[in-house]
Symmetry: C2
Subunit: 213 residues, 2 copies
Amino acid sequence: MSGAMRKSAPFRVLLDMDCVLADFEGNYLKCFREKFPNEPFVPLADRRHFYISDDYKKFEEQSPDILSKARSVYETPGFFGSQPPIEGALAAAKEISGLTNVEVFLCTSPLTKTPGVHHDIMEKLEWTEKHLGMDWVKRVIITKDKTMVHGNILIDDRPKIKGVLKPLPFKHILFTASHNRHLDLRATTAAERLDNWTDGSWQTLVEKYMKLM
Amino acid sequence: MSGAMRKSAPFRVLLDMDCVLADFEGNYLKCFREKFPNEPFVPLADRRHFYISDDYKKFEEQSPDILSKARSVYETPGFFGSQPPIEGALAAAKEISGLTNVEVFLCTSPLTKTPGVHHDIMEKLEWTEKHLGMDWVKRVIITKDKTMVHGNILIDDRPKIKGVLKPLPFKHILFTASHNRHLDLRATTAAERLDNWTDGSWQTLVEKYMKLM
């Protein structure tokens, strides 16, 4: 095959699930308030930390078991499966996946704090099947360490991506979520932000990184 | 940091779970015979194909629903969690993980054939927690496409590893299982075989590939 004929390596987009495709933050607040109507809560505008428990610590004096209550919300079976999709996310995922020479994988972390709590992962596959179809279940990669995954860009709401591969083997794009909205990018591992799936900016972003490959 | 001082990149070992750490084959046969005592079955010595259904097709004339029965065994909740560890596998995994400059990840595929069947993944995390501990749950990577995972060697019983990254981004070591025992390595993607975890050959193998890195 001549050089001109050689097909270039596909551009691989890794999409985080919670807060990128699935509305974890909105669902969390709704479920927390339903489950604990008499407890204090953190409105979305006041979220500041990636881990919810870090934001609920301020209530510990008035409500000593607030952290276990806060954790129980997302550890309750059904929580992950019930998350509504983020506006425009599913259409964007399908569009990216349909681009020439682009491959999309969903890249998500399991809960690992509480022994015996592993249903979250099953529900994420059920969520994927329900909202995107069985073909997409084959594109889910579940890993605590996302640096172990081959990819060109990772779109993820977590401010700092950490893992065994250093430097990061992909460009990290910070998807804006209520907990990271206030952050300067220099306090993150991200190269830039993606604010939403609806204003057309993801197309510009994907094109830009495909050219940089 | 001087060149002499620079720490070399860790050597990454990816271990498949079914038929490498967990005795899928033995457990399958036991569960099949318990569930369908009047059906014909394939003894371990007669296994020839990676997919069990390919070996049970020969019974279709005498038992028309044999394939759905065969599939139902591993699709029944509890099957994956109940697998006994393969002899020496857990000790070897811990030993490999304890080697200097070596990192171990468990790399396993979800069932993706039957809509709604996703409990297998939850049970694999439960299995890992039970037999290796919570720290190892953080080292599980669940993916249909193992080529998407960074690693130096993958120890896997599947004869042909396929995925979006070509050529394979790691050396594939074929772990011997009843379904692949008869295969010439030229019919596989593997560089060599590992027959068991008990005769000391894994140490030689890991040392060899660490030197080749």
